[in-house]
């Protein structure tokens, strides 16, 4: 009887039968039983109480876990719904995306959000859900034009504008540079007026340079 109880005690401590700790516990129990401090009945009742406590903890854990599981799924569903609702427009004409439409008494956003939640709850893929809305409301329901077909033009325009602009800027820079070369060439080819004293030319050039420096540094 005692051996059987000790086995149970070991099992409940969860440390197996060969660990140092379980041996210590066994020795301790044996000592207490042999010294009369702990009767086999006491030990049995204590083990039963412990078993009940563990069962309670286990059921609480299972309860919490089972409660958390649907919560987790629900939260994930909501996040998905939120993400999908940013891809769709509210169809009441307010021009807001579905997720942000707070238009008071809006006839569209509440039913659309409800429908979206139902799609998400049924486990449909995002693309299918969006496609379903497009079939129902037309392409206007998408908050951004798809990047295919005619609508892809909307996506290309900024890039093309940048490329064109960059091209123009580079052409302008090239023209300016070319002008610089031409100017230098014509300046070197031009005859220097013999009548003008060199000092006068220098002072005029210096004055121009001063004026330019003033202009450029006044900010």
């Amino acid at each position: 009887m005692l051996k059987h109880l000790l086995k149970k005690a070991k099992r409940f401590t969860g440390r197996g039968s060969c660990g140092e700790r379980s041996r210590t516990i066994s020795r301790d129990i044996n000592a207490r039983v042999s010294s009369g401090v702990l009767t086999p009945e006491d030990l049995k009742s204590r083990l039963t109480a412990k078993r009940h406590r563990l069962a309670l903890i286990f059921s609480a854990f299972v309860g919490i876990a089972s409660a958390m599981l649907p919560l987790h799924v629900d939260a994930q569903k909501t996040e998905r719904s939120k993400a999908l609702a940013t891809k769709l427009m509210c169809m009441c004409g307010c021009g807001q995306i579905l997720r942000e439409c707070n238009h008071i008494n809006c006839p569209s956003s509440a039913p659309m959000l409800k429908e979206l939640d139902q799609h998400v709850a049924s486990g449909e893929a995002d693309d299918l859900i969006v496609q379903d809305f497009v079939q129902q409301y037309g392409e206007k329901v998408l908050s951004a034009p798809p990047s295919t077909g005619f609508n892809s033009i909307a996506w290309y325009i900024p890039g093309v504008a940048f490329a064109l602009g960059l091209g123009i800027v580079l052409v302008i820079i090239r023209m300016w540079r070319q002008r610089d070369v031409n100017r230098l060439a014509s300046a070197s080819a031009a005859p220097v007026p013999a009548a003008t004293p060199a000092s006068e030319v220098r002072s005029v050039q210096l004055e121009r340079a001063r004026q330019q420096a003033d202009k450029e540094t006044e900010d």
Binding site: T86, K87, M89, G93, C94, G95, Q96, I97, E100, C101, N102, I104, N105, G138, E139, K140, V141, L142, S143, A144, P145, F150, N151, I153, A154, W155, I157, P158, A161, F162, G165, L166, V169, I172, I173, W176, R177, R179, D180, R183, A213, K215, E216, T217, E218, D219
Partner: protein, 692 residues
């Protein structure tokens, strides 16, 4: 009295025609009396428009419901402040308000330059009067706010009628900010008419030199400042009133206000190249033209109903008039340009790719690409409908995806531009100038990453914000250190002296810093949270660090509206930190509802609570709470931008230039290639002097 305003506007219309005809005759004949007469006609047009506007305000304040426009947009119980803002709440009144603000600019320009620039001003007067004539045509014949109320009687004959009370003002407009947002934004829109008029006049009249640029720079800055403030006030209004937790929805009307701002910003930068180097003349003239065209185009978008928007006025046939006007302006611009393009030849050339000039070129390119992206996104639904017969939506996901990279590049250039010298930047100068700003940017990114930020664009934005901030402060620091070394004053007072000596340059840096704050604020959007719950009294909602306890909800009756209000106790860390009272109002005069959002704003985040109404299922209040990080930075940034612009508009206090020998290795800002020489100017004997 009812029709006094109508007569005043009619007379203004006739005089505007005279101002144009007289101005053209004055340009041709060069007779001084004719020039003066045309100018005086311009003054008279402005005065008559003011009388017309004052008359409409009077009709609102005297509750004259015999007038259709007053009856439609006001009611007896409307508070006085909103009676004033109701004047521009509808199509007709807002167009008259436009004319009114334009007339203030026109009067100021004609008055400021009376007797000056005789070669230029007659042309300017003609262009300004032409723009006024277009709006006066609308005010008189297309959308008059002075129509009397009439009802059909026996046999369909119309009889004059009067109501005892009006329909009231749209609830969305019954908010203090709506009293100032439209005037500020319209002041921006209308203000761009002045640089347009000067550019057109200089081009047609082949006005020599860059004088017109100097004359219009301040006008452009004033218009730009109003436009910036107007856009941000509009964003704040949308945030505080519309109750969707955001401030910018890429709505067509918002886009319409952003586009001229973008081209105006490009002009304010590239104009420096024309002033200093005589470059970019064609570009600048076209930037001014484009900005004005976008102003008119934006007005067309808002008022024609061609694109759907919550902000737009009711659909009307007025769009045709704007299209006609746009065609006339484009034609006039093209003809003037083609006839006089040789006048716009540049004087100078680009000396180096690594220079202030090239940074301005790229800055302009990026701003223009942003404008094209916004314009194409705004008009794409119309294009799609016209070509495929299918209307599509282009909403925030498109605009954010396209514009965020552009904005990042622009922020990068904001930091780079001031560090480059005019003409050419040496490698040594590059190393010296970029060291601290680059280190600052990298350090900011490292701190952001250490705090767990993993969003690519947010981290990039913060890194570039750090870079620009260090650029701005290093510019102030290096200049102030030189003055401090020479005068013995402390760094702060030296920085103040430095700023006041060159208000335009350092005001510009303050504006850059303001834009950094705006960018940081916008980056917070990546971390927005929101939660919606049906909350009975006693219910609790947790969002971020806050716990919201709904204590009760009650109703209230005011003369102009009835309201339902939730009382919410907000806890943070177990302590009650504030009470919030979000409301939902019902306005019986026009049978419309509106929300009054409760916002608790800190530098870290905004707790934004909306009473969204009662749940149809349970009848209990539906509370929608948002936690929006860093929003306050946007408004603070806007304030800094405005202050920077005011600073840049102030005249310089110029130092008397007493040259002393330059010290070796003088550590002066060399964002400007010529700066070391300027550093040697003694600042000891300084005399305040206006340098307007």
């Amino acid at each position: 009295m009812d029709l006094f305003g109508s007569y005043a506007l009619l007379l203004a219309f006739a005089l505007a025609i005279y101002a144009i005809a007289g101005g053209i005759a004055a340009v041709i004949t060069r007779r001084p009396l004719l020039i003066k007469s045309a100018r005086n006609a311009g003054f008279a047009v402005c005065a008559l428009i003011w009388l017309g506007f004052a008359s409409l305000v009077y009709l609102f304040f005297t509750n004259n419901y015999a007038m259709a426009y007053v009856a439609e947009h006001s009611n007896r119980n409307l508070p006085a402040l909103y009676k004033f803002s109701a004047v521009w709440s509808g199509q007709e009144g807002s167009l008259l308000f436009w004319s009114f603000l334009l007339s203030i600019y026109v009067f100021s320009a004609l008055f400021a330059y009376r007797g000056k620039h005789p070669e230029l001003m007659p042309y300017v007067g003609v262009v300004l009067a032409s723009v006024q004539l277009f709006f006066l045509t609308l005010n008189n014949f297309v959308a008059s706010p002075f129509k009397v109320l009439a009802l059909p009687g026996v046999g369909g004959v119309l009889h004059l009628a009067s109501q005892t009370d009006g329909h009231g003002l749209n609830p969305l407009l019954q908010y203090p900010e709506m009293v100032i947002h439209p005037p500020v934004l319209y002041s921006g829109y209308t203000g761009f008419t002045i640089p347009f008029a000067f550019a057109m006049a200089a081009l047609i009249g082949r006005y020599p030199g860059e004088k017109w640029i100097h004359l219009t720079r301040k006008w452009t800055m004033i218009a730009w400042c109003f436009q910036s403030a107007g856009i941000l006030l509009g964003a704040h209004w949308a945030y505080a009133v519309l109750g969707w937790g955001g401030y910018w929805a890429w709505d067509p009307v918002e886009n319409a206000s952003l586009m001229p701002w973008l081209t105006g910003t490009a002009f304010l930068h590239s104009v420096m190249m024309q002033e200093k180097r005589g470059m970019m003349r064609v570009w600048n003239v076209w930037l001014v033209f484009t900005t004005f065209l976008l102003v008119i185009f934006g007005t067309f978008l808002t008022r024609s109903g061609v694109v759907s928007s919550v902000h737009a006025f009711a659909q009307s046939s007025i769009g045709t008039w704007f299209v006609g006007f746009l065609i006339i302006i484009i034609s006039a611009c093209l003809i003037a340009f083609l006839k006089n393009r040789d006048y716009l030849r540049s004087d100078n050339q680009l000396d180096s790719m690594i220079s202030r000039e090239s940074s301005f070129l790229f800055n302009n390119l990026i701003l223009l690409v942003a404008c094209v992206a916004v314009l194409s996104g705004t008009l794409f639904p119309v294009l799609s409908e016209a070509i495929r017969g299918t209307k599509i939506s282009v909403g925030p996901p498109f605009f954010n995806r396209v514009n965020i990279p552009i904005a990042m590049f622009l922020l990068f250039l904001t930091g780079v531009g001031p560090l480059l010298a005019w003409r050419k930047t040496s490698m040594e100068s590059l190393r010296r100038n970029f060291g601290w700003p680059l280190a600052g940017g990298v350090a900011t990114a490292v701190v952001a990453l250490a705090f767990g930020l993993r969003e690519f664009y947010v981290t990039l934005c913060l890194m570039l914000s750090g870079f620009v901030t260090f650029t701005v402060f290093s510019e102030f620091f290096r200049g102030a250190r030189v003055i401090s070394a020479r005068t013995g004053s402390n760094l702060f007072s030296s920085a103040a002296q430095l700023t006041m000596r060159n208000t335009r340059r350092y005001g510009g840096y303050v504006i850059h810093f303001g834009m950094v704050l705006v960018f940081i604020g916008i980056s917070g959007q990546a971390f927005n949270q929101d939660k919606q719950m049906d909350m009975a009294p006693g219910s609790v909602m947790a969002i971020g660090p806050y716990t919201l306890h709904l204590q009760n909800f009650d109703s209230d009756q005011q003369p102009n509206y009835s309201s339902e209000r939730a009382t919410i106790d907000v806890d943070k860390g177990g302590k009650s930190v504030m009470m919030l009272y979000p409301q939902r109002r019902f306005y019986p005069s026009n049978e419309e509802s509106g929300t009054m959002v409760a916002i608790s704003s800190t530098l870290k985040e905004d707790l934004y609570v909306v009473y969204a109404g009662r749940s149809p299922d349970s009848g209990v209040p539906v509370i929608h709470a948002y936690l929006n990080p860093l929003v306050k930075w946007i408004w603070l940034g806007g304030l800094v931008v405005v202050l920077g612009t005011i600073l840049a508009l102030l005249p310089n206090r110029q130092a008397v230039m007493v040259l002393s020998p330059a010290t070796e290795g003088s550590p002066v800002s060399s964002g400007d290639g010529m700066q070391p020489a300027r550093a040697s100017i003694s600042a000891r004997s300084q005399l305040p002097k206006d340098n307007a």
